[in-house]
């Protein structure tokens, strides 16, 4: 394992990230609507939400790439976008923001230089990144010859060559195969193990559950819930279990029926209703009620509530819609 010692000369006691009442609009669209968040040192905050929830705009705002309409963001006590904040921050955008005709090493060198690295610091940063991303043996290969997973890993490494104390990972697993996704998870876990604060956006619930100790669920530009996975589930379901009930066809007044029995009908054509039950035997009462009201139930699932259940409970929509 290559050992790389970061320069901590600019260390500060301020918390890594403080977001205070941030609002950002694009014309009539409010992308971020009054979001406030604090992220403590060494934490991994998962921003979980469907496409268009405002996650990427919030991440870009933290990176200093968005002019806020109101509110403020501070990175280790410095205003987002300031030179001091940029030095402490590594941003991995959702796109493959690389030079396709340059090699892995040349890409890392370019982005390292853009971060002000020179000499030994630059060489050490490149060496650490190549090893961290498992690309040491492909250091001389041009980006366009790499597989999709390798490009994703290099894309992540290019944001970390200056060894920042906080990293913004904007959906880093988009479009990669399961093996590459696992490798990326390991990379993030390695970062966390080294004490890096991580902000991780995703619309994959399992990624947030595996990697993040704190989760902020976003929808329509707002943070609608925040806490650990257990806290979020407890808050939404208590000790109850999650019951998914699928009907034979779309149900007239299904939403009203589900609401009358303490549940919600998921938006969409499938006609799936969600309920929270204190005991598994409570399912029988629900089935009886459906039978009395002429609803043909074709599928019933009992499961422990997860983040997806929380999201459905809070918004009535599936996370991936």
């Amino acid at each position: 394992m290559y050992v790389y010692h970061r320069c901590m000369g600019s260390a500060t006691t301020a918390i890594p990230l403080r977001i205070d009442s941030v609002v950002k609009c694009f014309g009539d669209l409010t992308a971020v609507s009054g979001v406030s968040l604090d992220v403590r040192e060494r934490a991994c905050l998962g921003l979980l939400g469907p496409n268009g929830a405002g996650k990427s705009t919030l991440i870009r705002s933290i990176a200093g790439r968005v002019r806020l309409d109101s509110g403020s963001i501070r990175v280790f006590g410095e205003p987002a976008g300031s030179a001091a904040a940029r030095a402490e921050l590594g941003w991995v955008p959702q796109e493959l923001a690389l030079y396709p005709l340059l090699t892995c090493r040349e890409n890392l060198e370019a982005f390292g230089r853009y971060q002000g690295l020179r000499g030994k610091a630059l060489r050490d940063g490149i060496a650490w990144c190549l090893e961290w991303a498992a690309l040491a043996d492909r250091a001389g290969a041009t980006v366009k010859t790499l597989s999709g997973g390798m490009r994703r890993r290099l894309n992540m490494a290019a944001g970390l060559v200056h060894r920042p104390r906080m990293v913004l990972l904007d959906e880093p697993t988009v479009g990669v195969d399961p093996q590459s996704r696992n490798r990326i998870f390991e990379m993030v876990e390695e970062l966390r193990g080294q004490g890096t604060t991580v902000i991780y956006t995703t619309h994959y619930m399992e990624e947030a559950e595996r990697l993040c100790d704190t989760i902020a669920i976003m929808d329509h530009g707002c943070v609608i819930a925040q806490g650990s996975k257990e806290e979020l589930v407890e808050r939404s379901f208590g000790r109850r279990s999650d019951v998914l009930m699928r009907f034979a066809s779309s149900v007239e007044n299904g939403a009203a029926w589900a609401a009358a029995h303490g549940g919600t009908l998921q938006e969409g054509p499938e006609g799936i209703a969600h309920f929270g039950v204190a005991q598994p035997t409570d399912i029988a009462a629900l089935l009886d009620a459906a039978g009395r009201d002429g609803l043909e139930v074709i599928d019933v699932v009992l499961r422990r509530p997860n983040l997806e259940s929380v999201f459905l409970q809070l918004t009535g929509r599936d996370l991936r819609q």
Binding site: R65, R86, Q94, E95, A97, F111, Y114, Q115
Partner: protein, 424 residues
Amino acid sequence: MIAAIVLNGFRALRRDRGALILSFILPVAFFSIFAAIFGGMGGSGTPRVSVLVVDEDGSAVSERLVGALLQEPSLAASTHPAGKKGALVPPGYTAAGAEAAVKQGDAPAALIIPKGFGAHPVALGPGADRTPIRLLHDSSDPVAPQMVAGILQKVVMTALPDAMANVGMQYFERASGGLTAEQRKSIESAMSRVPVNSAGQSGPQRDTGFVALDVRDVVGEKKQNSMIAFYAAGIGVMFLLFTASAAGGALLDEAESGALDRILSARVSMTTLLAGKMAYSALLASAQLTLMFLWGAAVFHLELFTHLPGFIVMTAATSFAVASFGMLLASISHTRAQQAAVSTLIILTMSALGGSMFPRFLMPETMQKVGLLTFNAWAIDGYTKVFWRDEPVLHLAPQVAVLIGAGLVLFLIARRFARRWEYS
């Protein structure tokens, strides 16, 4: 089926602005430019040839010839340097002054009427007794001396009919001695030997017209194919503009890939980024020009190594200007396709007007002035000063000032447009 394919083609074309520009606007623009150059849209029809006239003879005959030359509509003849508005008319050209003016490129030709011209102005046939007019010219313009020589013969015929008649009578006396039938036949025989206008002939001596001409190339006589520099600059600048456009386009690639966002989230400001891109583009352009001139030196005997200071100054100024032009094109375009279309349109237009495709000195006067709105014209003028006229580096000040100044202005405009990439 075929109709559906045709319909799809037109639908796609309608939404592809770049292709639309290349398909319709570019041909019309080029047609208009070349029509203006060759069709005299500038208002003057066939371009008039500038010629400086020096009367060293001062006789009544030479004064009449000068007067006729000044009134000749095909010539833009002048006997004095252009004075400032409201100032006194400066002294007339001397032979040395006219030669210097031709060397500097103020005019492509000069006519020096020597002392004694009035005594023997015209003659019929080669080897006759007459005083030749000196025609000094700059062979970078191969057309002007031919036109001046021909028009001079015409002017002599119309302006000096008495001299013509006198010479005719002398011929008559010598040839016949009396007007017998045989003598008349003899006169007709002699007259049949009178040559026609010799404007189309070439060579250092032209003594077969009514007026003898001593023709001398005062700029290119000692040079080894140095007009190659003109073509190297003309073609070079055009391709430099394309290269700078492509180099600037990398900015759009980075914007589309997200790399630009990432760079700007690091410790790189937009001004630094643009300056860096421009420096790369300028260095690339310098390398291209250097290669072209080295090739010219190796293959076409271009005198590069005896003109290095001027070459370096002009190459630096030209490269700076085209690089900033590339940045501007990138910053005003929203997509790479749009940039490619706009670049092609502007660069080909600039190259046509600026003399990269057709020498400006052969264009109508108005079009020559319009050409000064392009980088090509200023760069070509500068390189011509260096390699053709052997002018010192200080004389490049106007060209360098325009290229650098325009480059700075374009860079500032590009920086202004680039603000859209700074924040969302």
